[in-house]
Symmetry: C2
Subunit: 338 residues, 2 copies
């Protein structure tokens, strides 16, 4: 039990070099020797010491997912779980394990970054949704650690995977406008996040295209929480709106609740469009018209990109953009023509 490999070597009557070769499926081991070693491993329940291995190979076979502080509270949103699951499954396919870092608002940002960075037990990192000037990102730029950002690329960030937020938001709002809604508002995410700004920009784009001016009082801000959607919708109701584009399904749910309580019917009185196409969007009442995000593909693509980076495979595109699309259900489409 002293030196793991050497115990096996002794049992099988070979050198530790040979045992190492067998373990790593390397060639140049005769069939009979390999067999003998395999049996020795079997009977002794030996398991290679990964730390020792990592020490010499300089790789761990582990990927990190980082969900920064700012959005950690939003972990109730099914978006992150879905993303994590997709990343995890893809990583598993390639025999990578996953480390998870969830931002802790109680901890100062610096210490949090330090802890991640000094951990050192992973080969690369996927940052799921970053805030502007994220300190982690700043520390990463110029470091040799491979990483991929999920979300709109920021300055200096070399690799990212995102959805065409702006274009599809544009599409969604255009749909609302084309249905004849007159006072189309929006509930945004926090504007210090690139995603939120992209989606808001799409909202403006739609108005610009039609030549109709935007009523700035119909732009309400949320933080991707259900309750923030509720609050924002309450404001919009006061200001008079007949259709609202929400930057997330979760906020749309909050908006729906506000409308119900105000005894406004959806979509007869107010139409609603969400963003994400979370599972509950299809089963809410009424079923939510929303933008379908290819979350699975997002996670899979980011993971594959990161693995390519780690393993030195050639990279075609540095900034990938996946396409989302509008799914029409029942929360819009019945505009009362004024």
């Amino acid at each position: 039990m002293n030196h793991g490999l050497e115990t096996i070597a002794e049992i099988a009557g070979v050198s530790k070099s040979t045992v190492s070769r067998v373990i790593n499926d390397q060639p140049n081991v005769s069939a009979k020797t390999r067999q003998r070693v395999l049996e020795a491993i079997q009977q002794s329940g030996y398991r290679p010491n990964q730390a020792a291995r990592a020490l010499v190979t300089r790789q761990t076979g582990v990927l990190s997912i980082v969900i920064p502080q700012a959005v950690a509270a939003t972990f109730t949103d099914p978006y992150f779980p879905a993303l994590i699951q997709s990343i995890t499954l893809t990583a598993n396919e390639h025999n990578y394990a996953i480390m998870l870092w969830v931002g802790n608002n109680a901890e100062e940002e610096e210490r949090y970054c330090d802890r991640i960075l000094k951990n050192g037990f992973f080969d690369g990192m996927i940052i799921a949704s970053a805030v502007d000037n994220d300190p982690l990102l700043q520390r990463l730029v110029g470091s040799k650690l491979p990483y991929v950002l999920i979300g709109p690329p920021q300055a200096q960030v070399e690799y990212s995977v995102d959805v065409d937020n702006r274009a599809v938001a544009h599409e969604a709002v255009s749909h609302l406008l084309s249905l004849g809604y007159q006072r189309v508002g929006t509930i945004t995410g926090p504007l210090h996040m690139g995603v939120s700004r992209c989606r808001l920009q799409g909202y403006y784009d739609a108005f610009e295209q039609t030549g109709v001016g935007v009523d700035e009082t119909l732009v309400a801000h949320g933080n991707y929480d259900e309750s923030s959607g509720y609050t924002a919708m309450t404001t919009l109701i006061e200001r008079g709106t007949d259709a609202v584009f929400c930057a997330s399904d979760t906020m749309a749910l909050g908006a729906l609740r506000a409308l119900l309580e105000a005894h406004l019917r959806v979509p007869e009185d107010v139409a609603l469009v969400g963003f994400d196409d979370m599972p509950f969007a299809a089963t809410s009442h009424p079923p939510l018209t929303t933008v379908h995000q290819p979350i699975d593909e997002l996670g899979r693509t980011a993971t594959n990109l990161l693995i390519s980076l780690i393993e030195g495979a050639p990279i075609q595109t540095h900034h990938l953009v996946l396409t989302a699309h509008l799914i029409i259900r029942h929360t819009c489409g019945a505009a009362k023509i004024a």
Copy 2:
């Protein structure tokens, strides 16, 4: 850059032993030497190699969370995200990092266990909800790896944290019965999971207490998915029910949908009680009466227990049971007295 420690040692003009002492905050280093070493570390951006450290100390400072195959699909249920978040935050407080293993139904169970077990980059493991005869659990029993099970203790498992599922399910169903509902049914989780059986047992307990017999046709089975709740409820409607205890809020949501589509009012025609007290339970329409699970506490307790185990701290209780409680909202309480 050759030997990390030695580079620093050279810059600071000391031995690597001393540098090691400084890094690990050990005593017996003079103030001025420590200062000099700290500066050397600062200026060179040196970061200790964790693999080397783990090799000699035989610990990694990493905890694993395992969500077995059987429930991986259920990852859409906010229960797991909440649990993960709680575990992660608690672990962080103690300077432990987290590895995440999500069961992959595409992979054979054996290989999946192997991958986890041979990874070896963690000091202990939290198993979140296990299936009967979970192969991972079987491999763990008798191994020296510390682990804690979240859920009802199984044979051989030495440490677990759970909620008093049976007692609180009993309470919930008794509440329904005491309100005068005549045909109280239940939608269970998959019965090869201990949790599901505990909750079902609580349902039986309530009837036993009142002396009323259970109508077995009112016991429908789901798998914790929204859609399975929908399907089960459809069956129960056919069979005639006026109140249903659901083993999860997510299934209750599905049940709600089925009732809505059948034009049955809640709670006037059929009452509903959920389980979990997920965020959406408070904001659903109508707000869901449900059992509040202390998920945060569950995660925190399990994590603290595991860390005690790892660090050899004394353990008071091997099997901890936290108490859940019923939260009355609006989906029951208006029984039509027959």
